[in-house]
């Protein structure tokens, strides 16, 4: 998997590059917005990680220009500006995700994986999701495991849907908070863990094989 990393802060860039390369990604580093735009047009990348503040061209300008010329590569915008409004601006410009600095390395990696995976999903629009014997019908909004129906609250359904769409990937608490609840704060309680444990008690409790795993220090993963 090839990643275009656009970041003008050398220390930050070196750190991000090392973390991504440790995951086995092929990373190309660019420090300038205009150069990044040219590269992204010339080559096919799987994911572009784009800092918001760049020399010559801002991240938002780059994304806008790429989208206008039909480049659909998933873009993750990274920025020290944590304001929700900045985030909305970045997403409006055509970015697929937005991550505020400072961030944990796990958070970055999890989001990059989700972006990549999300693109594969988008290619074939599913009406059914399945992980091992857990099945979700997105149209009927029903969930079965081993043929047995599981009753979920609407929010639990969305939580499980997000986990299933990212099956095999680690999703962080922050990703869940943003994508399932559309909340943008750092909880000082274990509220996400409690929601997960409720869901787990419905989908895993009566079955021999657990599907919903806790990834220590980073988040959760739904996997057979």
């Amino acid at each position: 998997m090839r990643i275009l990393l656009v970041e003008d802060d050398k220390d930050m860039a070196a750190h991000m590059r090392r973390s991504l390369e440790d995951e086995g990604y092929d990373v190309e580093l660019v420090e300038d917005g205009a150069v990044a735009e040219d590269r992204a047009r010339a080559r096919a990348y799987d994911v572009i990680i784009l800092d918001r503040m760049l020399p010559r061209k801002t991240g938002a300008e780059v994304v806008l220009a790429l989208r206008e010329s039909g480049v659909t590569t998933p873009v993750m915008m990274v920025s020290a500006l944590r304001e929700v409004s900045q985030k909305v601006e970045g997403l409006d410009a055509g970015a697929d995700d937005y991550l505020g600095k400072p961030f944990a390395t796990e958070e970055l990696l999890a989001r990059v994986r989700a972006l990549h995976k999300g693109r594969e999903m988008a290619v074939s629009e599913h009406t059914r999701l399945a992980v091992a014997d857990l099945e979700m019908d997105l149209l009927a909004r029903t969930v079965h495991r081993g043929g047995k129906k599981i009753d979920l609250q609407p929010r639990e359904f969305r939580l499980l849907e997000y986990l299933m769409r990212n099956a095999g990937q680690t999703v962080t608490r922050k990703m869940l908070l943003e994508n399932v609840w559309d909340y943008h704060f750092d909880p000082q309680t274990n509220v996400i863990d409690v929601h997960i444990s409720r869901l787990r008690s419905k989908i895993d409790k009566d079955y021999s094989a657990s599907l919903l795993h806790t990834v220590r220090g980073s988040g959760y993963r739904l996997e057979a």
Binding site: R82, V84, S85, A104, W181, Y183, F185, D186, Q188, V194
Partner: protein
């Protein structure tokens, strides 16, 4: 310090007084001119008309009856009218009759107006200085007849009116200058007190205030109001500076311990054998401490960001939905800790504001309540429109509460009550809530919650003013 004359004349007060004085003097002069025209002017016109009538009737006496009859007539009329004076001079230049001196010359055939000082010759031989006004003219054949009205009284009124005018002009101008100087000195003194206070504050003495004026004027004039406003402004500035100083001190103090621990962990890791278990543990500990530091900085940035939101970014918020979603989101956590979370949320509540920060404020209150309430406790979440039109969002619990004396303090940045030092949190929770409430022009009210006297609990209410 006594302000210099130049400085005084440059003051606004002096200029205003000078302009006012000039205007008053002009109006007075105009009024006096009006009085002059309608009194003296009228008297002069009357005198001229009377002298002319007298002259013309005497001319016809002369034309009909000759010079001797004219002389007798003049003497008779002079005796009858004490204010009319006559003079008659023969062709040869001999004075036939005169009531006054000097008799004006008439050079040609014509007549001329007479107006000037005269010496009136009284019957008893005395001479009285006066003013005569009338006409002198040559009759057909050569004799000169002069008829004047004794204008002495009117002239005296005229001259006193003129000196009155002069007096008013002179003293008016000097009086105005004096009044201007006095007023501007008064104003300059008050202004000087203000500017001296400003200088002292500028040079670092934030405790300085504009002193109470000892002015003779009763308190409550515009300067007193200005003094009061400036003193209140200085109070607010001092409060902010003090708050910033406290925040700075607290930041330094609160950041020092985690930084020290971070340093120790790194030192431990550095001393340990690379790759060993204790090196790994030290680094893990260091990362944990660094995360805590980042959390604190993020919290500080959040508060600052909220304080800088503009009212233009406000939008309509479905408050009912926002609070219901939060209640639903936190219900499982509360239940997990055997806490009963009850929600009383009115339908159809809405408000203009920033939804993200309002959510953050409610989250802080709810999480505070959850973290500080013991197992089996109660939490109540209320959202209602009060009868007075204000929107009230409240979180009540039966945790330890906050003693009344500490309630004001806890909303300040970084303040955590000592016995809660051991529980997690950056100490910015309530100050963030306060910043959010202030952004929406509301108030944060802290009072006793659901508990009993031993454990009063906390009721934290966000009260927002009725939307206009």
């Amino acid at each position: 310090m006594r302000p210099s004359l130049g400085a005084l004349t440059r003051t606004t007060t002096f200029r205003l007084v000078a302009i006012t004085a000039a205007a008053v003097i002009l109006i007075l002069m105009a009024a006096l001119a009006g009085v002059y025209v309608s009194t003296i002017g009228q008297a002069q016109a009357d005198a001229d008309a009377a002298a002319r009538l007298e002259w013309e009737s005497l001319e016809s006496v002369y034309a009909e009856r000759g010079i001797a009859a004219l002389r007798a007539e003049v003497a008779e009329r002079s005796a009858r009218q004490s204010d009319m004076l006559f003079a008659l001079i023969d062709v040869s230049g001999e004075t036939l009759y005169k009531d006054f001196d000097p008799v004006p010359r008439v050079p040609g055939e014509d007549w001329r107006a007479v107006n000037g000082p005269i010496q009136r010759l009284m019957e008893n031989g005395r001479v009285v200085e006066s003013v005569g006004r009338g006409r002198a003219g040559r009759l057909i054949g050569g004799p000169v007849l002069v008829v004047v009205r004794d204008f002495g009284v009117v002239a005296r009124i005229y001259s006193s009116l003129m000196s009155g005018l002069f007096f008013i002009g002179f003293f008016g101008v000097f009086g105005a200058i004096a009044a201007g100087l006095f007023a501007s000195q008064f104003a300059a003194r008050r202004a000087d007190l203000l500017s001296r206070t400003a200088q002292e504050v500028k040079s670092g003495d934030l405790a300085k205030r504009v002193p109470k004026s000892r002015a003779a004027l009763p308190a409550g004039d515009e300067f007193d109001k200005l003094d009061r406003d400036i003193n209140e402004m200085l109070d607010e500035i001092a409060r902010l500076v003090e708050a910033t100083r406290t925040a700075g001190d607290s930041i330094a103090h609160d950041l020092r311990s985690p930084l020290m621990r971070l340093k120790q962990s790194l030192e431990t890791a550095a001393r340990a054998a690379p790759g060993s278990e204790s090196a790994g543990a030290g680094l893990a500990k260091a990362v944990e401490e660094a995360d805590k530091l980042l959390d604190m900085f993020n919290a500080i940035i959040s508060v600052m960001r909220i304080e800088s939101f503009a009212a233009s970014s406000f939008k309509a918020i479905d408050v009912t939905a926002l609070v219901r979603d939060l209640a639903e989101f936190y219900a499982p956590v509360a239940e997990d800790r055997a806490i009963t979370l009850r929600a009383h949320i009115q339908d159809g509540l809405s408000y203009r504001g920033v939804p993200e920060v309002l959510t953050q404020a409610m989250v802080n209150l709810l999480e505070n309540a959850i973290n500080y309430t013991q197992e089996g406790g109660d939490i109540e979440l209320r959202a209602e429109l009060r009868p007075d039109g204000q929107l009230e969002l409240a979180v009540l619990d039966n945790g330890p509460g906050i003693p009344e004396k500490d309630r004001e303090r806890v909303v300040q940045r970084f303040v955590r009550l000592d016995d809660s030092r051991s529980t997690p949190g950056s100490g910015l929770g309530l100050s963030l809530v306060e910043a959010v409430v202030r952004l929406h022009r509301g108030v944060l009210s802290l009072s006793d919650g659901l508990g009993d006297t031993a454990r009063p609990g906390l009721r934290a209410a966000l009260i927002f003013p009725a939307t206009p």
